[in-house]
């Protein structure tokens, strides 16, 4: 289930920066400079004066700068005051990002802390106690702490509410046991957001509770999970009677499902970078084709390549339109369609690139050597045809399978009747598993 990148195919996430040179929309309300913009501009300049970019040399300097930025309320302006922001509309972030980008200031590397910014942060802000927010948000936003997500299980993927990891109350603690999968970057993570079942006697969606977990706790074991590319972006995480203080419970007992939906709805929002024409799998296809000697360019492929180009362009433009809407408010209906179309398009194009490579596709320069990337990216621009082909197989599974997305489109957008279900109204213990 959902543990990966935003589906738009761009690296930046909620609360992140990295927008220098992007085409994001400026706040529309201000033909002249409004007081809010003016305030952000002068405060950002003040931050830069107090912490000159030229003096930021080490990783520690970078974190110190980011902490100052957070404390000045310039981290993510839509975060609340005292939590790295100012409670402003999200689009004002561009004012800050443009100045910092132009000054060459370091950012919090949003592509490296996707779970922090896109999942854990928004959920802790929505449901965390004062103490929890105070303790976690600053380190979370700067990236000093790295977070991972422990939701999916071997028996609970698309049907996430069927999760079986148990949390049993023991005094002021909870004892948690179970197995999680598809955990991006668990091997590097300091903390996790975790769903566990606290009451199996009620229907499946009602017995789930949301926890924050210190990954260094005794009983937590992380093992890499090797994927078809040979590398391991993901892990399995085993929880063996892990003791978690009740102070690490997020929200009320039984409220986990509602909070999980906050986490997963934020996964898809916030990117402000506009994807470029001919990026992603189409890049590999087109470049190899253009650079091939003319006698190797069999004209029978031409129509399929042009068709692929048009599809890629349609998905790119639809992505920009959806991003623009998400900068203003909740994801539009088109976001689900876009994820579906984008996944299927990537797969088709990567497959075509393998075919047009002809016997070249027998060679796999990336190899299958095992390694664990230190950050997650579904970006395949510049990768070989073979790698793109294999990596894009996951596009229609990660972040919501194409089949689930079709149900979402059919039921929530087209308002078609739901599939009859037998698992939602009975105690979890009575659901066949």
């Amino acid at each position: 289930m959902a543990q990966t990148e935003p589906p738009i195919g761009s690296g930046s996430t909620a609360g992140g920066e990295g927008t220098a040179g992007s085409e994001g929309a400026a706040p529309e309300s201000s033909p002249e400079i409004d007081p809010i913009t003016a305030g952000l501009e002068s405060d950002t300049q003040a931050l830069l004066s107090a912490h000159p970019v030229a003096e930021i040399r080490t990783e520690e300097d970078r974190f110190a700068f980011l902490e100052a930025r957070y404390d000045a309320g310039l981290g993510a302006v839509h975060y609340p005051e005292g939590r790295g922001g100012r409670g402003l509309p999200r689009e004002y972030q561009l004012v800050v990002d443009e100045i910092l980008g132009a000054a060459g200031a370091p950012d919090n590397r949003p592509a490296h802390i996707i779970v922090n910014l896109g999942m854990a942060g928004p959920t802790i802000l929505a449901a965390g106690t004062e103490e929890q927010q105070q303790r976690f948000m600053r380190q979370l936003w700067t990236g000093r702490d790295r977070w991972c997500q422990l939701f999916s299980e071997p028996g609970a993927g698309s049907d996430l509410a069927g999760l079986a990891t148990r949390a049993v109350r023991d005094g002021d603690d909870w004892i948690i046991s179970g197995q999680k999968v598809w955990t991006t970057l668990a091997h590097l993570a300091d903390y996790a957001i975790l769903l566990a079942r606290t009451d199996p006697t009620v229907p499946k969606h009602q017995g789930i509770t949301y926890f924050l977990l210190d990954m260094k706790s005794p009983g937590v074991t992380v093992r890499p999970m090797r994927q078809i590319t040979g590398e391991a972006e993901f892990n399995e995480v085993f929880l063996d009677e892990v003791r978690v203080p009740d102070a690490m419970r997020l929200g009320a007992e039984g409220e986990g499902w509602r909070l999980a939906n906050i986490t997963l709805s934020n996964e898809r929002s916030g990117s402000t970078k506009s994807p470029r024409r001919e990026g992603g799998p189409i890049h590999t296809l087109i470049q190899e084709w253009r650079t091939a000697p003319p006698e190797d360019r069999d004209p029978s492929y031409r129509d399929s390549i042009a068709r692929a180009w048009v599809r890629a362009e349609a998905v790119r433009l639809a992505g920009i339109a959806v991003q623009r809407q998400m900068a203003q408010g909740p994801p539009p209906a088109e976001a689900s369609a876009l994820k579906l179309a984008s996944a299927e398009t990537n797969k088709q194009i990567a497959s075509l690139a393998m075919e047009t490579a002809e016997t070249g596709a027998l060679i796999h320069p990336d190899g299958y050597a095992f390694h664990q990337p230190d950050f997650m990216s579904v970006e395949t621009t510049g990768r070989s045809a073979g790698y793109s082909y294999l990596r894009t197989r996951a596009n229609s599974i990660e972040g919501g399978t194409s089949e689930v997305l079709k149900n979402i489109i059919a039921e929530r957008i087209l308002r078609l009747p739901r599939e009859p279900r037998t698992d939602t109204a009975v105690p979890f213990t009575e659901v066949p598993r």
Partner: protein
Amino acid sequence: MSSAAHTTTTADSEFAAGLRSGVRGLGGIAAVRDNLDDPTEVRRAHRRMMDEMGLAGLLVTEELGGLDTSIRTAAALGRVAGEVPAADLLGPYVEAPVILGILHAGHPDDAVRELAARTLTTMADGGDTVTVSTDGLVFDAEASELVVVYQDESLHLVPTRALDLTELPAFDPTRTVHRIDPVSVLGAGELLAAGEIASEIAGAALVAGRVYLAAELEGTARAVLDATVEFLRSRIAFGRPLGSFQALKHQLAEMWSEVSLIGPLIEEAARALDDGEDADEAALCAAAALSFAADTAVAVCERGLQLHGGIGYTWESPVHIWLKRAAANRVRLGTPHTLRAELAALIDI
């Protein structure tokens, strides 16, 4: 429900809403269906309503009494026109003003500029309807007083009654198609331009026309999709609404997802034209938009017919009207395959 969420300006939406309520007031798709054996009256009523809205002046400059809107606006109208196949908008409201507008703005000959200005002024005033023929065929000729004919690298302005026209049985029953005898064009009207200028102008009209036509196809696809969703929601079989079966739901979701990709391609192509980007970029975007819109619309119509079951194969159901319009529009200004061949050359593949 599945209505479009396009980024349109208020003016675009106003024109589109005006056209939509105008067509509805004339009975909508039901009136078209009920009069399909002889749609002359319906077509005439549509034309009158559109002329009264001032659509002929949409792309005419204010100086000549027009509304001076954009290709974006024309695309917004195209979406509506595709929902209820009616009188042809492409020739009289898009191609003709584009061709005459370029002539008026830049033809070296004073007399031609003057003639173009006069004609545009009359059009904007709701007078003569002027349509365009670029391939020896003319649509809805009986509803036009004048035809701009492009043949043998020359542009002519000819009174319709002076042309030797042969009516052909039309695949799309909502429109008439006539073949023009090329000999009757010569000497019957005014020569507007010849040679390279003429073919460049015809090329510019083609690109604008393609963006408009893509929008019409998008409108048709959305109309069929809406009708199919509605049908599957209400039709009960095996004790359940058909729309609760996942095998059918997933098809509708795929159709909706595909249709939602058409709009952004059209917006980009309209933007390239309205912002005056270089001709190759505009041609590229237009070819991309129309090839995708045409493939998608025809596929959605075909699948929509299938999902309607037997009723979708009847004359009574409107599905075949949309299908015929989509299949006709698919080949009108280049087919998806020939458009992709043009596109391939433009992007060096």
